[in-house]
C-alpha cells in the first residue's frame, strides 16, 4: 500500500494487528481489551504521562537511566536498584539487539545461554520473548514509571506486548529507529511500522489511556548538528500526532557547547509546538529530553563522571523535562547496576544544585536559537515540498535527496554527504553541509565558523578535524585540536 501521513482507519489497523501478533508465540497473549483494563489500574504515580506533566508544570528535570538484562528476575533487581540506590525518577527497559531486529530465535538462544552461563549474553531485555506476563512481572515490581527503550526498526510486536505489559511510554520512530539502527531497512517500511506503533498508542489514547511517546533524539549520537536532529524529532512528533498520540517527549543529544545545547533544546520545544499547531493537532503535551553525551566516552571513570555531570548541568540549565543518564562504565561495556546508580546519583546532585538556576540569557543565546530555528525550517519546508504536502512521503524523498542527512549513519538510505565538525568554541557546525537545503546566509555562517577554528589551529579545513572531533571527548576535551 501507498504510504501517506493519514490516521489509519480502525479496520485497517485491526487487520494489521492480526498479522503482527502472529510473528512470535507470545503475540497470542495480547488481548487489547484486557490490556486497556490492566493499564487503567496502573496508578498515576507509575505513569509516564503524569510524571512528565508534573515536571513540566513545576519546571523540574527528571532523571532516567538506560538498563536492561536478559532475565526477568535479574532485570527487576537491576531496576529496583536504580530506583532505590540511583534515585531514578523514571525507569527504562532497554531491549536487546536481536529483539530489535525481530530475531526472536536468536534472542531465545541468548536467554538460554545467559541462564546456563550465569553471564548476561544479551545486551538488553528481550521483551517479546518474555511476553506480556514477563513484562507485567517487571512493571508491577517497581514504584516508578517504566519506558521501553530500544532501537527497533519494526517494533510493532514489541509495542503490542510491552503496552499490554504495563509499560507507559515507548521510545522510537520511523526515522530515528531506522537510520542510526539499521543498514537495509527502507524508510517506507519503517515509517509504516511506526504508524502502526503510533496508531496503537492513539488507540489506547482514544480509550482514555495516555501513553507517552518519545522520538529518539540523538540519532547516531556523534556530532549530529542540532538542526538535523531537531528536524527529525519534529517530523516524528507530527507523524505520531496524526495517528492520535497526544503526549510526546522530543529529544536532543548533547553536543557539548553550553549555548548551542541550551539553544537547541529551547528551539526544539518551540518549533515542535509551532508545527503541531500549524498542522492542527490540538491538546498536545510536549516535553523535552536531553541525552547526556552520546558519542565515545573516556574510559577513565573519573573523566566519565565529568562528562556525565556536564551533561546534567546542561539539562538543568536548559530546563529539559528529563535527562537520560550515562554511566562511568560507558566506554567499556554494559554497566553494572552499581555503576549505573552512580551515574544517576551524580546526575541527581547536579540537577538539584542547578534546579533553581537559569542560564544568563543574552544575545549569543538568542542568535544561536535563531540559527537553529532557521536551519530546521529550511529542512522541514523542503521536506514538505518534496512530499507535495504529505509529510511521510516527503521524508522518504528528503532522505533520498540528502535534504535530511545524518552523519555516521549505517543506513544505506541515508545520503551520508554531510560532514560535521566543531567550531572554535566547540559548537557543532557543518564542515560540509552536503545537500541540506540551507540558504546561503546559513552556509556562509558555518563556513566562517569552521574557518575561525582552522585559523586558530593553524591548519587547513579538512576531514582530519572531523576525526579529531570524533575522538576528542574520549581523549579528554571537546574540540579535537591538533597534536
Amino acid at each position: 500500500m501507498q504510504l501517506t501521513n493519514k490516521k489509519w482507519d480502525l479496520d485497517f489497523f485491526m487487520n494489521q494487528r492480526q498479522e503482527v501478533l502472529k510473528a512470535w508465540p507470545t503475540g497470542a497473549e495480547v488481548d487489547l481489551d484486557e490490556a486497556l483494563a490492566y493499564q487503567a489500574e496502573i496508578p498515576k504515580e507509575k505513569r509516564f504521562v503524569s510524571k512528565l506533566n508534573e515536571a513540566l508544570r513545576d519546571g523540574k528535570t527528571l532523571i532516567q537511566p538506560r538498563a536492561g538484562v536478559p532475565l526477568i528476575n535479574e532485570h527487576i533487581v537491576l531496576l529496583s536498584h536504580l530506583e532505590q540506590e540511583g534515585e531514578a525518577d523514571l525507569l527504562p527497559t532497554t531491549i536487546d539487539s536481536y529483539t530489535r531486529l525481530n530475531r526472536y530465535q536468536d534472542a531465545q538462544r541468548g536467554i538460554e545461554e545467559s541462564k546456563t552461563s550465569g553471564k548476561a549474553m544479551l545486551n538488553g531485555f528481550p521483551a517479546v520473548n518474555h511476553g506480556v506476563k514477563g513484562c507485567r512481572m517487571v512493571t508491577s515490581a517497581l514504584k516508578k514509571p517504566v519506558q521501553v527503550r530500544h532501537g527497533t526498526p519494526d517494533a510493532r510486536l514489541l509495542a503490542e506486548i510491552t503496552l499490554a505489559g504495563g509499560f507507559t511510554s515507548f521510545e522510537g520512530g520511523g526515522i530515528s529507529y531506522n537510520i542510526p539502527y539499521a543498514k537495509n531497512a527502507p524508510l517506507q517500511d519503517t515509517l509504516f511500522f511506526w504508524q502502526y506503533c503510533d496508531r496503537l498508542v492513539g488507540y489506547y489514547e482514544d480509550k482514555g489511556i495516555s501513553i507517552n511517546r518519545e522520538p529518539f533524539g540523538p540519532l547516531t549520537g556523534t556530532l549530529v548538528p542540532p538542526c538535523v536532529s531537531n528536524a527529525v524529532a519534529i517530523i516524528e512528533a507530527l507523524l505520531a500526532a496524526e495517528q492520535g498520540v497526544k503526549n510526546i517527549t522530543v529529544g536532543y543529544g548533547q553536543c557539548g557547547n553550553l549555548i548551542q545545547d541550551v539553544a537547541a533544546i529551547r528551539a526544539l520545544k518551540q518549533q515542535t509546538m509551532e508545527y503541531l499547531d500549524r498542522f492542527g493537532y490540538k491538546d498536545m503535551e510536549v516535553s523535552t529530553v536531553l541525552h547526556q553525551w552520546m558519542g565515545g566516552f573516556p574510559a577513565d571513570e573519573a573523566k566519565a563522571f565529568a562528562v556525565i555531570c556536564w551533561g546534567s548541568a546542561v539539562a538543568a540549565l536548559a530546563n529539559a523535562t528529563k535527562v537520560i543518564v550515562k554511566t562511568p562504565h560507558e566506554a567499556l561495556g554494559v554497566p553494572t547496576k552499581e555503576a549505573n546508580a552512580a551515574g544517576l546519583r551524580a546526575t541527581k546532585q547536579v540537577i538539584m544544585m542547578l534546579a533553581d538556576q537559569a542560564i544568563a540569557d543574552g544575545e549569543r543565546l538568542e542568535h544561536e536559537m535563531a540559527v537553529i530555528r532557521e536551519e530546521t525550517d529550511c529542512i522541514l519546508e523542503r521536506t514538505l515540498e518534496l512530499g507535495e504536502g504529505d509529510l511521510a512521503m516527503g521524508v522518504v524523498a528528503a532522505f533520498e535527496a540528502g535534504v535530511i542527512d545524518v552523519p555516521f549513519a549505517p543506513s544505506r538510505y541515508n545520503a551520508g554527504k554531510i560532514m560535521p565538525a566543531r567550531d572554535n568554541e566547540g559548537a557543532v557546525r557543518f564542515l560540509n553541509a552536503g545537500r541540506l537545503p540551507l540558504n546561503q546566509k546559513l552556509l556562509d555562517f558555518h563556513k566562517k565558523k569552521i574557518q575561525e577554528r582552522a585559523d586558530a589551529e593553524h591548519r587547513g579545513v579538512s576531514f582530519q578535524m572531523v576525526i579529531d572531533d570524533v575522538y576528542a571527548i574520549s581523549k579528554g576535551r571537546l574540540v579535537g585540536r591538533p597534536h
Binding site: R103, P335, I467, V470
Partner: protein, 138 residues
C-alpha cells in the same frame, strides 16, 4: 606486499563510527581495504575474503553480542579454504566490563589471532597488523 584486508562489524551490530574511522586509517596506512560496513554476517566476511584474496579479516563488535556472533567463524574460514587467514577482533566484544585477559583467552580459543580491547587507537591495530604481515620496519 601482503596488504589486503576485509573490514566489518559483525552480527546485528550497527555501530558505524569506529568502522568508518578504521576504514580511513587503514587505507591511509597503505592497506587495501574491503569495507563491508555494519551488520555483516560470518558468510559475508568469508565471501569477501575469498573474492578479494584477503590477508586478514578484521572483525569489529561493539554492541555486546560479539561472543555469540563470533562463534564458529574460524571453523567456517577453514571449511572455505581460508586456511591461515589472520583473524582479528576488536571493540566492546563482550557484554559489560570484564577482565581483558579472560576475554582475550576466550576469543583466542575461538581462533582469533589477536584481540583488541575497547577504545584501542588505530595506530596500535595498524602496527600489529603490519608486524603480523611481515611489513618491513620503518
Amino acid at each position: 606486499m601482503r596488504n589486503k584486508i576485509v573490514l566489518g562489524v559483525i552480527g546485528a551490530d550497527v555501530h558505524a563510527v569506529g568502522n568508518q574511522i578504521l576504514n580511513y586509517a587503514f587505507t591511509d596506512a597503505g592497506f587495501h581495504v574491503v569495507n563491508l560496513g555494519v551488520m555483516v554476517s560470518q558468510e559475508e566476511f568469508i565471501e569477501a575474503a575469498i573474492e578479494s584474496d584477503a590477508d586478514a579479516i578484521l572483525v569489529s563488535s561493539l554492541y555486546g553480542h560479539g561472543e555469540l556472533d563470533c562463534q564458529g567463524l574460524r571453523e567456517k574460514c577453514d571449511e572455505a579454504g581460508l586456511k591461515d587467514i589472520l583473524l582479528y577482533v576488536g571493540g566492546n566484544i563482550v557484554v559489560g566490563k570484564q577482565p581483558f585477559e579472560e576475554v582475550e583467552k576466550r576469543f583466542k580459543a575461538m581462533g582469533f589471532d589477536r584481540v583488541f580491547g575497547p577504545g584501542t587507537p588505530p595506530e596500535v591495530d595498524i602496527a600489529a597488523l603490519k608486524e603480523d604481515l611481515n611489513w618491513p620496519k620503518e
